[in-house]
C-alpha cells in the first residue's frame, strides 16, 4: 500500500489531508460519542506517545535497555512545576524578592528549557553506564529512576524544594499568544473546551517529535545507533565513537521525556512523586516493545493502545458483566490489570516482534524474489558455499 502511495504523489497528499482532518475533528467526535473524559484520555495518550518515542531512541534504536526512563519525565514535570507555581517564592524569600510576581515564562521558553534539562540528566545517566549493556544496564537505570523519585519524595527537608510527597500544586495553566488553555475558547463560532485545546497543543508537539524521530532514524546518527545495537565492537571498528553516540541517544531520548513531563505538569496543574514510579517506566517500555521496537509507527501504535486499553477495559467490563451475569461480579479496577496483563502476554506470544514491526522484513522478501529471478545459478552456488561453511 505504501508502495502504491509513493507511485501516486497526489494520493499521498490526499491521504495526509484525510489524516489531518480526522486528527483535527477527533476531540469533538470523541466528546460527542464517549464524553469529555475520553478526550482527556486521548491527551494522555499523546503524552505517552512522546514518551514511547523518546524511549524508542534509547531502547529501540541504540539497544540500551533503560528501566528508569520515567525519571526524565519527572525532571521535565518538576522543572515546569517549580518555575510555574508559587512554591519556590513561598519557600525561598530570596526567590520571591527576585521575582515578586513569579516567573511565568512563556511556553516556548519552558519547553526548550525542559528538554535541555532532561538532556543534561540523560547524559548524567549515560556517562557512568557506557560500559554496561543488557541486564546490567537495566539495573543501573532502574536505580537511577528510583533515585530521582526518592529525591523528589524527600526533598522537602531540610530545605523544601519539592514539597515531598504532597507534591506541587497551583501550577500555571498554559497560555499561548494570550490564549489561556484552562478556559474554553470561542473561535469562528466554535467553542473549544480546555481538553480540546490541550489536545491540539499536544498533537502539535507529538507531530514534531515524530518528525524528529523519523529524520534521525534515516540519518548518519540513526544508522550509528542501530549499528551499536547490532554489534558494538564492529561499530567501534567502523570508526563510530560509541561513547558520544550512546550519550547522544540518552540525551535525545531524555529530551522527549522532558518535553512530555513539562506538558504533563501544566496540563494537570499538579505534580507529585507518585506519578513517576517504576510501573510507569515499565509501561512505557511495554509500549515500545509491544508496538515494535525501533519502528516508529509501531511504537506510536503501542503508545495509543496501552494508554487507552486500560481505560477502555475499565469502562467496558461493567456493562459486559451486567449483560452476562445480570449483575456486577468483579470490581472493574481489579479486573482491569488482569485483562491488561493477559492482552500483553497474548500479543507477545503471537507477535514476538511487536504488533507492527519494521518493514525491513518486507523489503527483504521483495529483494530475495528479485534476486532469484535475476540469477538462479549464482544463488544456488552461494547456497552451497553456505553449506560448506557450516560443514
Amino acid at each position: 500500500m505504501i508502495e502504491a502511495l509513493k507511485r501516486y504523489p497526489a494520493a499521498k497528499w490526499l491521504g495526509l489531508a484525510l489524516v489531518a482532518i480526522v486528527l483535527g475533528i477527533l476531540p469533538f467526535v470523541v466528546e460527542s460519542a464517549a464524553g469529555r473524559g475520553w478526550v482527556r484520555i486521548i491527551d494522555f495518550a499523546l503524552l505517552y506517545i512522546m514518551l514511547a518515542l523518546g524511549l524508542n531512541i534509547v531502547v529501540g534504536f541504540a539497544g540500551l535497555l533503560d528501566l528508569g526512563y520515567i525519571a526524565f519525565y519527572a525532571v521535565g514535570a518538576y522543572m515546569w512545576a517549580l518555575l510555574a507555581s508559587p512554591h519556590l517564592a513561598a519557600n525561598f524569600p530570596a526567590f520571591a524578592a527576585m521575582f515578586p510576581s513569579g516567573m511565568h515564562f512563556p511556553i516556548w521558553i519552558m519547553i526548550p528549557m525542559g528538554a535541555a534539562l532532561a538532556a543534561i540528566f540523560g547524559v548524567l545517566l549515560g556517562a557512568p553506564t557506557l560500559r554496561l549493556r543488557g541486564d546490567y544496564l537495566a539495573i543501573v537505570t532502574l536505580g537511577f529512576g528510583e533515585i530521582i523519585r526518592i529525591f523528589l519524595n524527600n526533598l522537602n527537608a531540610p530545605v523544601n524544594v519539592t514539597n515531598g510527597p504532597q507534591g506541587i500544586n497551583r501550577i500555571d495553566p498554559f497560555s499561548l499568544g494570550g490564549v489561556a488553555f484552562n478556559k474554553p475558547l470561542e473561535l469562528f463560532g466554535v467553542t473549544f473546551p480546555p481538553v480540546a485545546l490541550y489536545y491540539y497543543l499536544f498533537l502539535a508537539l507529538t507531530m514534531l517529535i515524530i518528525f524528529i524521530s523519523l529524520r534521525l532514524e534515516d540519518s548518519r546518527i540513526g544508522r550509528a545507533w542501530i549499528a551499536i545495537r547490532e554489534d558494538e565492537i564492529a561499530a567501534k571498528a567502523m570508526g563510530i565513537n560509541t561513547r558520544n553516540v550512546k550519550l547522544l541517544a540518552f540525551a535525545m531520548g531524555a529530551t522527549f521525556g522532558g518535553v512530555a513531563g513539562g506538558l504533563f505538569a501544566g496540563f494537570q496543574g499538579f505534580v507529585s512523586p507518585e506519578s513517576f514510579t517504576l510501573m510507569e517506566s515499565i509501561m512505557i517500555l511495554c509500549m515500545v516493545v509491544l508496538g515494535g521496537m525501533g519502528h516508529i509507527p509501531g511504537v506510536i501504535l503501542g503508545g495509543i493502545l496501552l494508554a487507552t486499553l486500560p481505560e477502555a477495559i475499565r469502562y467496558g467490563v461493567v456493562p459486559v458483566q451486567k449483560a452476562l451475569f445480570g449483575k456486577q461480579l468483579v470490581d472493574p479496577e481489579s479486573l482491569r490489570m488482569l485483562l491488561f496483563g493477559l492482552a500483553l502476554v497474548t500479543v507477545m506470544l503471537f507477535r514476538p516482534a511487536g504488533l507492527w514491526p519494521s518493514k525491513v522484513r518486507k523489503r527483504e522478501f521483495a529483494s530475495a524474489e528479485r534476486a532469484s529471478e535475476l540469477e538462479p545459478e549464482q544463488i544456488a552456488s552461494r547456497g552451497e558455499g553456505a553449506e560448506g561453511a557450516r560443514a
Binding site: S219, R223, A237, M238, G239, G385, G388, A389
Partner: protein
C-alpha cells in the same frame, strides 16, 4: 624503511601469566599484501587487536603512515585509515547489506543531530554521496543484487564479502583481514582472492591473517610467521615455506 605504511616496534602483550606477544617487530610496505600466519594460538589475532585498538599493547609502538599510532579507542584507528574485518563475522545482522556499508561511511561524514533533523542541502548531498558510495562498493564486491537483503540472511561467502565492503567504506589505507577465507569453499576462496588482488590494485595495502597456507603463499608478497607470540620468520612466501624453523613450528619437528 621509508616506504613502510605500518611498522610495529617491539609489541608485547601479556594476559595474566600468558605472554601472548613478545617484542614483535615488523614493517608493512605500501600496496603490498602482507600475510600473518602461524599455528593456532600463536598470537595473530592478539597482534591484530593491538593494532586496531581493541587491546592496548603493554610495550612497543606502532607507526602508521609516517606518524605514531597511539590511539586510545578503536574508532580513532578507523579514522587514521585502518579498517578491519573479524574472524567470526561481525556484521550488523538486522541491517540490510546496503545499510551495513553506509555505516562504514560514518567516519568520513559529518552530519550531526541538527543537520539530520533539518536536512538542509549539505546533509542531503552527504546522504546522497553515502548512498552512491555504498552502492559502488556493493557492486565492487559483487553484492549489488543483495543490497536490500538483511545481512544475517546472506550466505556465508557473501557475508565475508559484505564485511570487506563495509571496511572499504571507511576509505582505509590499510585493510586488515582476519581469516577472510575461513570456512569458504574452493570457489569462494578463489573469488575472494580475485577481490583482494583488485583491492591491492586500487592502492590499498592489505594485512592478512590466514590459516589457508595455499592462499597465503599464492597471494602475499611477504609473510611473517608467529609462533608462541614470537616472530620466527619473515620474507617472501617461497623462502618462508622452506624455513626449517617454520616447518618445525607447523609440524612439530617431524618431517612432512
Amino acid at each position: 624503511m621509508a616506504s613502510a605504511l605500518l611498522t610495529a616496534q617491539g609489541i608485547s602483550k601479556r594476559f595474566g601469566g600468558l605472554q601472548a606477544l613478545t617484542r614483535i617487530t615488523l614493517a608493512i610496505n605500501r600496496s603490498e599484501i602482507y600475510g600473518l600466519i602461524g599455528p593456532n594460538g600463536a598470537g595473530k589475532t592478539t597482534l591484530f587487536n593491538c593494532l586496531t585498538g581493541l587491546y592496548q599493547a603493554d610495550e612497543g609502538a606502532f607507526t602508521f603512515d609516517g606518524a605514531p599510532l597511539n590511539v586510545k579507542a578503536p574508532h580513532e584507528v578507523a579514522e587514521r585509515g585502518i579498517a578491519r574485518t573479524f574472524q567470526n563475522i561481525r556484521l550488523f545482522a538486522n541491517m540490510t547489506a546496503l545499510e551495513n556499508v553506509m555505516v562504514g561511511r560514518h567516519v568520513r561524514t559529518r552530519t550531526g543531530v541538527i543537520g539530520a533533523v533539518l536536512r538542509g542541502s549539505r546533509t542531503r548531498a552527504e546522504e546522497h554521496a553515502i548512498h552512491e558510495r555504498a552502492r559502488d562498493l556493493l557492486r565492487y564486491v559483487g553484492l549489488e543484487v543483495r543490497s536490500n537483503t538483511l545481512a544475517r540472511n546472506l550466505p556465508y561467502g557473501d557475508q565475508r564479502r559484505l564485511e570487506i565492503a563495509r571496511a572499504l567504506a571507511t576509505d582505509p589505507k590499510l585493510l586488515a583481514l582476519d581469516e577472510p577465507a575461513a570456512g569458504m569453499n574452493a570457489t569462494e576462496t578463489s573469488s575472494l582472492r580475485g577481490l583482494m588482488d583488485r583491492i591491492r590494485g586500487d592502492g590499498v595495502t592489505l594485512l592478512l591473517i590466514e590459516h589457508d597456507v595455499k592462499l597465503v603463499m599464492g597471494l602475499c608478497d611477504r609473510v611473517a610467521v608467529l609462533d608462541y607470540g614470537k616472530k620466527i620468520a619473515e620474507g617472501p612466501p617461497a623462502e618462508v615455506q622452506r624455513d626449517p624453523v617454520v616447518i618445525e613450528a607447523y609440524l612439530g619437528g617431524t618431517i612432512a
